[in-house]
């Protein structure tokens, strides 16, 4: 790639939109990873019974199934005619497919298994004793969760957030089907890389991939810091 074509690609106005869109998707997905992933990981790690096993299975599905298949099932569920999509549209006028909600959901679905797993592993073991101690000392469940469980799992939560965010950033299959990959509306950075490879624009694909690699580097550094602290 010549420097001229590289900068021509970099200044291309079409690249700004996918970057901003991806940032917006992450602004929704990352808090959800934390707010949903930590309790879910705690539940799956500590809970027992058939319901927990089923939930465990469901959470692992996006990890095991090809993203295209996950996207297709979600499309059938959430589409205009779907058992969930139809009432959502009817009662709340909310359309998930072909818009921002679809992209956010795609990012959350693909990232959540990776958020849950490390937390799930961390809450087993010594934590049981600490939680019991906290109860003996008269602390209620929310306080125990905030003051004991969260600090105890700090590193696993950070690792989960890193993995989930990375996975969500690079996601193509689910966001392609739920978002539609509509240029100027739902083309995230990863979809834009997919598009660029598709049409043989390797400079563009390389630039955007470099950008994601840079984000990954920053995330790694941040993770190292939390690991030390």
């Amino acid at each position: 790639m010549t420097p001229v074509s590289f900068w021509a690609t970099a200044y291309d106005a079409g690249i700004g939109f996918p970057i901003l869109l991806t940032l917006r998707v992450m602004a929704v997905a990352i808090p959800v990873f934390f707010l949903l992933g930590v309790p879910l990981g705690y539940l799956l790690g500590r809970g027992r019974g058939r319901g927990v096993a089923v939930l465990d299975f469901l959470v692992s599905l996006p990890l095991v199934l090809p993203p295209m298949a996950v996207g297709f099932f979600l499309l059938l569920l959430l589409g205009r005619q779907g058992p969930i999509g139809l009432p959502l549209r009817h009662f709340f006028d909310l359309e998930i497919v072909f818009g921002f909600p679809g992209l956010a959901l795609a990012a959350i679905t693909s990232g959540i298994p990776l958020m849950v797993r490390p937390v799930q592993a961390a809450v087993r073991g010594d934590l049981v004793r600490l939680v019991e101690l906290s109860a003996v000392l008269g602390k209620n469940a929310p306080t125990t969760f905030l003051r004991v469980v969260l600090p105890y799992c700090r590193k696993s939560i950070a690792a989960g957030l890193f993995l989930a965010t990375g996975r969500a950033l690079g996601e193509v299959g689910v966001s392609l089907l739920l978002g539609g990959d509509i240029v100027g509306r739902t083309n995230t950075v990863s979809l834009e890389i997919y598009n660029a490879v598709f049409t043989g624009e390797f400079a563009r694909a390389g630039l955007l991939s470099g950008l994601l690699a840079l984000v990954s580097l920053l995330l790694t550094l941040a993770l190292k810091r939390t690991g030390r602290g």
Partner: protein
């Protein structure tokens, strides 16, 4: 010990197959059914084993360029010839046909009905990536419908993506190729062919690569494609 022996035997068998020099055919994923059937018929007729590489055309072209392992590419003539891959010859397979399809529970009486108010979302593949997207744009321009549908047009990446949205009822109509929807039967509402004079002809060909490893096989495949049997298969798949 027994297990090791069996594994060795398996490896030997697999290598034996690889040494028989199969014919490697690459094609756009949209032509999967057509190319699979053609390849099977060719295998039976010639005894040469075939291997298929299916994917989007950008991916297929890159693989052909960088692997050197592909003997024949099936795709749209203009698109293939625009790439910088050297070809040694081409055989026509058939003509790709643009159709407008709609999901279950809807009805269109004529292609121009896409402009009606009952069609709220009209999907088409990206004209820059998919040849049928280009054809759909030409049709909308030539038929004067472009303005009427501009606000409800959903431009997505590929033909199979449009088909998926038709199957799930996510759009009210979509432009696809006939090969992609003709086998869907009751899974969609139906489809209508677009007047072929309103878009540039889409010629589906098999191009032989200069760098083909199995040049003799590629030549035999070209001869096979010109046969009556091959033409019947193409016809069966909507070409």
């Amino acid at each position: 010990m027994k297990r090791i022996l069996w594994s060795c035997l398996l490896v030997l068998l697999l290598t034996g197959q690889a040494l028989a020099e199969p014919l490697t055919i690459a094609a756009g994923a949209g032509y999967k059914k057509l190319v699979t059937e053609l390849a099977k018929a060719f295998e039976t007729a010639s005894g040469t084993k075939t291997e298929l590489v299916l994917g989007n055309m950008g991916q297929v072209l890159t693989q052909a360029k960088s692997s050197g392992a592909i003997d024949v590419i099936v795709g749209e003539k203009g698109f293939l010839e625009k790439s910088d891959i050297p070809f040694s010859g081409s055989v026509a397979i058939g003509r790709g046909l643009l159709v407008v399809a709609w999901p279950k529970g809807k009805t269109l009486n004529a292609p121009a009905d896409v402009a009606n108010a009952s069609v709220k979302r009209l999907a088409m593949p990206d004209p820059q990536k998919a040849i049928y997207g280009k054809a759909a744009t030409q049709y909308l321009e030539k038929s004067g419908l472009q303005k009427a549908v501009a606000d409800k047009l959903l431009v997505v990446a590929t033909v199979p993506q449009v088909t998926t949205y038709l199957l799930s009822g996510e759009v009210d109509a979509g432009f696809v190729n006939r090969t992609d929807v003709m086998d869907l039967g009751p899974a969609i509402g139906g489809y209508l062919e677009i007047d072929a004079s309103l878009y540039d002809p889409i010629e589906i060909v098999a191009e032989q690569l200069v760098a083909a490893k199995n040049a003799a096989g590629a030549k035999a495949f070209a001869t096979f494609l010109a046969s009556e049997g091959a033409r019947d298969i193409a016809k069966k798949h909507g070409m």
